[in-house]
Amino acid sequence: GAGVSQTPSNKVTEKGKYVELRCDPISGHTALYWYRQSLGQGPEFLIYFQGTGAADDSGLPNDRFFAVRPEGSVSTLKIQRTERGDSAVYLCASSAYTVQGPQYFGPGTRLLVL
C-alpha cells in the first residue's frame, strides 16, 4: 500500500515568509508525528497527533510553529515569519494506535530559508 507522503518535496522561501508543509499518513494510521532533521543530526520531535488533537506539542520550538490535523488524516505544519535557522528537513511519520509500535516516515520536505 501507499506509504507516508509529504509535499512539497522542496521549499525555498525568504526570511519572514509563511510556509505550509503537508503530510498524508498511511491510511488507517491514527497517530501522526512531525520531526525536524538538521544536516548530520537525528530527527528531533516536534509534535504528535492522536486523531485530530495534538496529544504532545512539547517539541515545537516557539509559537511561530503550529500544526493541524482537522479531519484526523492529513496534517499541515505551519511556520510563520520563517528564519534562516528553520532550514532543515521536516519529516512526518505515522503509526497505528497501539502500545509501542513502529513509526513509518515519509521522505521529508527540505525547507531552505534564504
Partner: protein, 113 residues
C-alpha cells in the same frame, strides 16, 4: 535524561565484515528501541526493533543486542554489503500509546566493495 548517545559517528567496513553501532540511554522509562536506516534524500526506514524483555533479536543479517543493566544496545550487521552504506539511527521511546521517539545523532556507515 532524554538523550540517546550513539557511536561511532562514522564507520568504514570492508564487504563481508561485521558493522557494529552502539547506543546508550539514561532514562530507564524507555522500553522500545528501534533502529532506523536512512539513505540520502530519503526518510528513515525501520530496520529492526527490540523491547527490554529480551537480550537479543535477529532478523536476517541484522541483530540487536540489548543490555538492560548497562542501559546500552547495539546493532550488528553481519556480512556487510555496499548496499548497506547509509546512516543508521538508534531511537528510544517510553511506555504507553503513541510516544514520540528520541533519536541518536546517527552513524554514517560506508561498506567498501
Amino acid at each position: 535524561q532524554q538523550q540517546v548517545k550513539q557511536s561511532p559517528q562514522s564507520l568504514i567496513v570492508q564487504k563481508g565484515g561485521i558493522s557494529i553501532i552502539n547506543c546508550a540511554y539514561e532514562n530507564t522509562a524507555f522500553d522500545y528501541f528501534p533502529w532506523y536506516q536512512q539513505f540520502p534524500g530519503k526518510g528513515p526506514a525501520l530496520l529492526i526493533a527490540i523491547r527490554p524483555d529480551v537480550s537479543e533479536k535477529k532478523e536476517g543479517r541484522f541483530t540487536i543486542s540489548f543490555n538492560k543493566s548497562a542501559k546500552q544496545f547495539s546493532l550488528h550487521i553481519m556480512d556487510s554489503q555496499p548496499g548497506d552504506s547509509a546512516t543508521y539511527f538508534c531511537a528510544a521511546s517510553r511506555g504507553g500509546y503513541g510516544q514520540n521517539f528520541v533519536f541518536g545523532p546517527g552513524t554514517r556507515l560506508s561498506v567498501l566493495p
